[in-house]
């Protein structure tokens, strides 16, 4: 399943715009939510192919969003791949908890838009 639709949940405007810009230029259909609540609602309203999820978010943390969507009995977003993108230095435990429910866990400072595009392509190919 190639990835076409992407939901970005990211509160930093510069970073959010950077991702939106390069992903749109690459031809993806991108929605961008700034706070955790809106992000959660968006994720449940539309079956995205991919969700890029920040951890430190207003209203609801990324870890909480992932727990709600993937931590219960049923996977609420079965068709969506999740990549956690954060600059926050989580505890090992918190990180493991998120990695368990995610398809990728990346440090934003290490990922340029070009690298992100390569990773998304790889994710789509592996599906």
């Amino acid at each position: 399943m190639a990835i076409k639709t992407i939901l970005i949940i990211e509160d930093d405007r510069f970073i959010g715009e950077m991702y939106v810009r390069s992903l749109k230029n690459a031809g993806y259909d991108v929605d961008w939510m700034v706070d955790g609540n809106d992000g959660l609602i968006a994720a449940r309203n539309r079956p995205y192919d991919l969700m890029l999820l920040d951890v430190m978010l207003p209203e609801r943390r990324g870890s909480e969003i992932l727990q709600i969507l993937r931590g219960g009995v049923d996977d609420l977003i079965p068709g969506t791949k999740v990549v956690v993108l954060t600059n926050f230095d989580q505890t090992e435990e918190a990180r493991n908890n998120m990695e368990k429910h995610a398809d990728g866990y990346l440090i934003k400072a290490e990922i340029t838009p070009k690298k992100l595009l390569a990773i998304i392509e790889k994710l789509g190919a592996s599906a």
């Binding site: 930093d12 810009r21 390069s22 600059n87 505890t91 090992e92 934003k108």
Partner: protein
């Protein structure tokens, strides 16, 4: 003098009170028996004895009883003094006052030469009797006095067991009464290992560890010591450890490090933006920028990448110092590890007019390593090679099998180092002689690189000639040689690292082979 076991020591201490009790009881019982017998005989022979005569019998009996006690005590005194002197020189804790040679009694009774002989014997065996303070002898009660100093003093016997520790020494006592040093060594050998190695090679040796903590950052009563250790093979206290508490000097640096960890998170946001936008702009403007402008873009990108690397170093060092650095060891390929930083390294080299050549043979066996942290190590070493070499200089990265290890070497032909600075090279915040003036940096890159390599079960070493250049060699175990041990530790070997929060590097060496 041979050190006695606790049981033996207790027997030494027990002799005198028991002997005195038994002897005194016998003497008094014998005397009472005699008195009772006399009374019985007198009663039989003279049933009508007057009252005053009875009083005389009672007084005489009491007097003889008292005399018996006094004479017995006097007779036993030399025995008491000899035994207390013996207990004393054996180093056992005792409630008895050790005999003072200058006491007149010993002169009169001619006991002095005997006591002196005991003390002389102890002295000739290298042990100082803890004599009475009042005696004024130079070795008077040293052990008690040492509790008044803020400097920790610990003595170990040839088995590495603590035979003495003063109150300032950071010593833990477990449930069985066994004492151990409460010190956390990070990258270097710890004292036990050092002493074990001395036992094989040296008769006398000394070593200094600096900035050694007794507790992890954030724990209460944390102290930071400079630890001086001297080793003297064959002496009773084979290893003597002196600990200078320099918490006041070191603590602020430590607090800084926690602050740095916080700041590093904040720094990552802007770095993300800078790297990201540069990446986009560099591509999008490629068609219209001139050669000159392209070079400026390269320098911007290289600088942003470096900044990101430094932030990672600082974060890792902070994690490492707080024992939060986690390593996930798995089967990795050197070429794959290098591939993740290859573009960045080539860019850095070319932006500074260095020639970076990489030779990683395709048939190299896989290694056991943590991918993420090892890329940072190689990035640090290559970055250093670029910094400490000259324009147009070449840098070679070469990987090759060496026994059970794969050696990855990074060689530059730059300024090099004199041999006397190499020993300090991997210490935190250490910057080599010339680098202070000529090259910017935190002095943390090699420190964290060594920590990471050793956490990976590997070794890092350096060869350098001043003015000719340096070679740093990272040796990592071939996966096949440690696979069994890694599997025995469970699939989830991160548990193993987390569990052993103090000294986990050492535990890690468990699979070193």
């Amino acid at each position: 003098m041979a050190v006695k076991s606790a049981a033996e020591g207790e027997l030494l201490n027990r002799f005198w009170p028991r002997y005195r009790r038994v002897t005194m009881t016998r003497a008094v019982l014998a005397q009472l028996t005699v008195c009772v017998a006399i009374v019985a005989i007198v009663l039989t022979l003279y049933p009508d004895l007057p009252l005053d005569a009875w009083a005389l019998v009672v007084v005489m009996s009491a007097a003889s009883l008292a005399l018996t006690v006094i004479i017995t005590l006097l007779a036993m005194r030399p025995l008491k003094d000899l035994s207390s002197a013996l207990v004393h020189i054996a180093g056992e804790p005792t409630g008895l006052t050790p005999p003072n040679l200058n006491d007149g009694f010993y002169m009169r009774s001619r006991l002095r030469p005997l006591l002196k002989q005991i003390y002389d014997l102890a002295m000739s065996q290298g042990s100082s009797p803890r004599s009475d303070e009042k005696s004024g002898a130079p070795y008077a009660n040293i052990a008690a006095q040492l509790n008044h100093t803020a400097t920790g003093i610990v003595m170990l016997d040839s088995n590495g067991q603590i035979i003495y520790a003063n109150q300032s020494a950071p010593v833990l006592i477990d449930g069985n009464g066994k004492k151990s040093l409460e010190l956390i060594f990070d990258v270097d050998q710890n004292i036990t290992e050092w002493v074990a190695e001395r036992g094989e090679h040296d008769v006398h040796a000394e070593k200094v560890w600096r900035r050694i903590a007794n507790k992890l950052t954030g724990e209460p009563d944390r102290r930071l010591f400079d630890v001086y250790v001297s080793y003297d093979k064959g002496s009773e206290a084979e290893t003597i450890i002196t600990l200078f508490d320099n918490t006041n000097q070191y603590q602020p640096e430590d607090d800084d490090l926690d602050f740095i960890a916080f700041a590093a998170h904040e720094l990552r946001g802007p770095i993300t933006v800078i790297r990201g936008y540069l990446d986009s702009l560099n591509d999008e403007l490629a068609a219209i920028t001139t050669g000159d402008q392209k070079e400026l873009f390269q320098r911007l990108i290289v600088s942003a990448n470096r900044l990101s690397g430094y932030v990672n170093n600082i974060l890792n060092a902070s994690r490492f110092d707080r024992r939060h650095l986690k390593i996930h060891i798995g089967e990795q390929n050197v070429a794959n590890i290098y591939a993740t930083i290859a573009d960045d390294m080539q860019l850095r080299a070319s932006a500074q007019q260095r020639l970076l050549s990489v030779n990683i043979p395709a048939n190299l066996p896989n290694i056991a390593a943590d991918l993420n942290s090892m890329t940072e190590v190689f990035g640090n070493l290559i970055d250093n090679a670029i910094k400490y070499s000259n324009d147009g200089g070449s840098i070679e990265v070469i990987a090759a099998v060496n026994g059970n290890f794969v050696d990855v070497s990074v060689t530059d032909h730059g300024i090099g180092m004199p041999s006397n600075v190499i020993g300090n090279l991997f210490h935190k915040f250490y910057r080599s002689h010339r680098s202070r003036e000529t090259v910017a940096g935190t002095g943390i890159g090699l420190y964290i690189s060594k920590a990471i390599v050793e956490s990976n079960g590997g070794k890092i070493s350096v060869k350098s000639v001043e003015g000719r250049g340096s070679t740093f060699i990272v040796s990592l175990p071939i996966y096949a040689t440690v696979a069994d041990k890694l599997k025995a530790l469970g699939n989830n070997n991160q548990d193993f690292i987390e569990r052993s929060s103090d000294g986990w590097i050492k535990n890690h060496g468990a699979f070193r082979g």
